[in-house]
Symmetry: C2
Subunit: 179 residues, 2 copies
């Protein structure tokens, strides 16, 4: 599977059940959210700006998209789990199964981040992102066209210790009426 196809299959509204395991103290956190993944134009000013900030030619970007999430955790009901970011895949010209994923807001820290992705032979999307004080590893795969699984690991920056392991099961939702 190519990144283009992976993004195409991801477009839509998803109802996500996420469990986060905080490993050091054996805590379970349950998060329910709605995730919208929407294709955006490679000419969108936000895409152009993001490419520019990484000195990447806009023409190298493939299937940019916007991800928006709105969720609730059972841990802290007052916490706002709401946000949006733009993601821009930039395949490696020498290996179409690998590349960079630019995003204007990271997952472990709220700043721009570029991760390295690859697609495995069994169509799992793997993303590794290095932050200042942490590293994130995500695996996403489709069980069928309407169910995605996602495992996210937050590691210490050295990459050996695991701080949080979380798992999302995401089910495609019908989007009603105009949108």
């Amino acid at each position: 599977m190519k990144i283009k196809e992976f993004v195409e299959r991801s477009i839509g509204r998803w109802r996500s059940q996420r469990s986060a395991h905080h490993l050091a103290f054996g805590h379970f956190e349950a998060i329910q959210s709605v995730i919208d993944i929407v294709a955006i134009s490679p000419d969108d000013p936000a895409v152009v700006d993001l490419c520019k900030s990484y000195n990447i030619d806009t023409n190298a970007a493939v299937s940019p998209f916007r991800m928006t999430w709105d969720g609730q955790s059972d841990w802290d009901e007052n916490e706002v789990l709401k946000g949006s970011c733009i993601l821009v895949p930039v395949p490696d010209p020498d290996d179409p199964n690998r590349g960079k994923l630019l995003r204007d807001q990271g997952y472990a820290e709220t700043m721009a981040a570029a991760g390295n992705y690859y697609l495995t032979e069994d169509d799992t999307f793997v993303l590794v992102t290095q932050y200042d004080r942490a590293a994130a590893e995500e695996k996403i795969w489709f069980v069928n066209p309407n169910v995605r699984c996602r495992v996210s690991l937050i590691k210490t920056s050295a990459g050996t210790g695991i701080v949080t392991a979380s798992f999302s099961s995401e089910i495609r939702q019908e989007i009603k009426n105009s949108k």
Copy 2:
């Protein structure tokens, strides 16, 4: 990675945090358990019997092991999550990355079951088991020598609908004193 190495790395005591997502009704279940994985001899009568019941030559068995678990769920505290089974990998002679995994007690139904496994290029163990009224798909991989992740999907027997998606993070424990 070969199955022999995968089993060797799995030997030990693991503290497991498991989250089960019951997809139809969006329920989260949290299970904490201790899992012991112990190598057993290919000559063990239980291994010989299990091979015999599948008409498999005992010499084809590689690294048989016993898995014992003892857990507690937050869903039904009276439920006994305790058990033990014997697992026997039988690699395909033509493809060492694939094979059958025999077990004397299945996961989705408590009866003997033979699943088909393969190891991916990034060392994920994938097991697909067909039961009478369900199918199970498991993925297990090591994040480091002391942390394993496991995603288990219980599907309808046709394999299209997902009933339960669960995720375990497993941390290796020191085994103290005699055992």
